[in-house]
Point group: C2
Chain length 248, copies 2
Amino acid sequence: MDTTSGPAKEPSLGVLGGMGPLAGAALAMRIVELTEAARDQEHISVILVNDPHVPDRSTACTAGGETPLPAMLHGIDILVRAGVDCVVVPCNTAHLWFDQLQAACPRPILHIVDAVIHDLQRHGIRDGTVGILGTPATLRLGLYQDRLRAAGYQPIIPDPAEAQALLVPSIAAVKSNHVDEAYPLAARAIELLRQRGAGSIVLGCTELPLAVPHARRPGLGIVLTDSIDALALQAIEWVGRRTEACGA
Amino acid sequence: MDTTSGPAKEPSLGVLGGMGPLAGAALAMRIVELTEAARDQEHISVILVNDPHVPDRSTACTAGGETPLPAMLHGIDILVRAGVDCVVVPCNTAHLWFDQLQAACPRPILHIVDAVIHDLQRHGIRDGTVGILGTPATLRLGLYQDRLRAAGYQPIIPDPAEAQALLVPSIAAVKSNHVDEAYPLAARAIELLRQRGAGSIVLGCTELPLAVPHARRPGLGIVLTDSIDALALQAIEWVGRRTEACGA
């Protein structure tokens, strides 16, 4: 039986999750919550591979740990064979392997940094200083900086000691289901970048939107763009354009 | 390439979701939140097929609508080919087709009613009157009643007019992302069963735990068992037993 044919004819999204697993599931949830739909059948078809055994992306980048690439390619293979039309990867650090993933994937992968830039524009922010929070690997290897500069922004990042002291434990707290402990650390990192001139902040690790829940954001006094919601909205828009182009 | 072999060797769970899509994503989220884990790699591997285009289960049962069975079997086929060891279906009404799904699936499917009974026992409730809330199809076709009686409980259900007036619009509100409108309707249905002697209530439609969020439950003054959380816990326990049996 060919699993690429089946009852579902609508465009289908593949989510390569598990990195971490709460972020993968949260993205699947936000795709539903952010879709305008009056009944089940108007929602978007999603397949989520939420495999948390993918080797740690940060350790691979910064400490010579096992590469996550084969496990990620295995997940992509499951998604493609299941018939998805487009792939999203709710893990910022994983995007350090974006070119290798896209080269091996016959479907488009939507880049999380493009989604975040689109979300900044959605908030009316078209230039100025943007603070980036993320894993030390993401920050050090410049995942966001070049694309933000090319789009007309001035990126700033925490210094390495702050990233170790605030962001690493905040992200680890989310991964171990201690979301409440994650908040004050992330909030402090946001405040430090605000004091240095950031007019908006990118939550550029998919654990950070879980550390800083929507209800607490208005109290922080700065525009936050959330890499989970930004990716969900980018995916929903992709499906909308595809559906329109196919005359569905 | 054989997608059933791959880097992940740990037991893997398949979730046949989309019915509705918020319930499917919520189950994936609750599996993560209810797992004891200190880092990503200690979480459970999950593949979620969240296809909301499966024909409506209730309409098929009560109004001669298109059968959802082929679409559900297509989803099971995707999960099995992706290498899952066990399947859960976060939709109570879909369990009216349980025997056909299990007959076509070479992996065990955990029955949602067994999960709920196990959860009642986890709450220390081993007998007495249990109120069931669900879709009219679930209630009328007795999905819960026989299994609850066999386990030593006395099931009671809303009358058909109450189910139409309270449960149908509450469930529809969740499916259209109007979760706040769903709560008062579900709370009224709970209160009516409490007045008729129910000592506990089964939220026996996977939209209802979303209609009655955890934070509002203590105010209702009755033990609620939640078919999403019950299924998540059953799945986590299954993986734990399987991991132990394999000496992992």
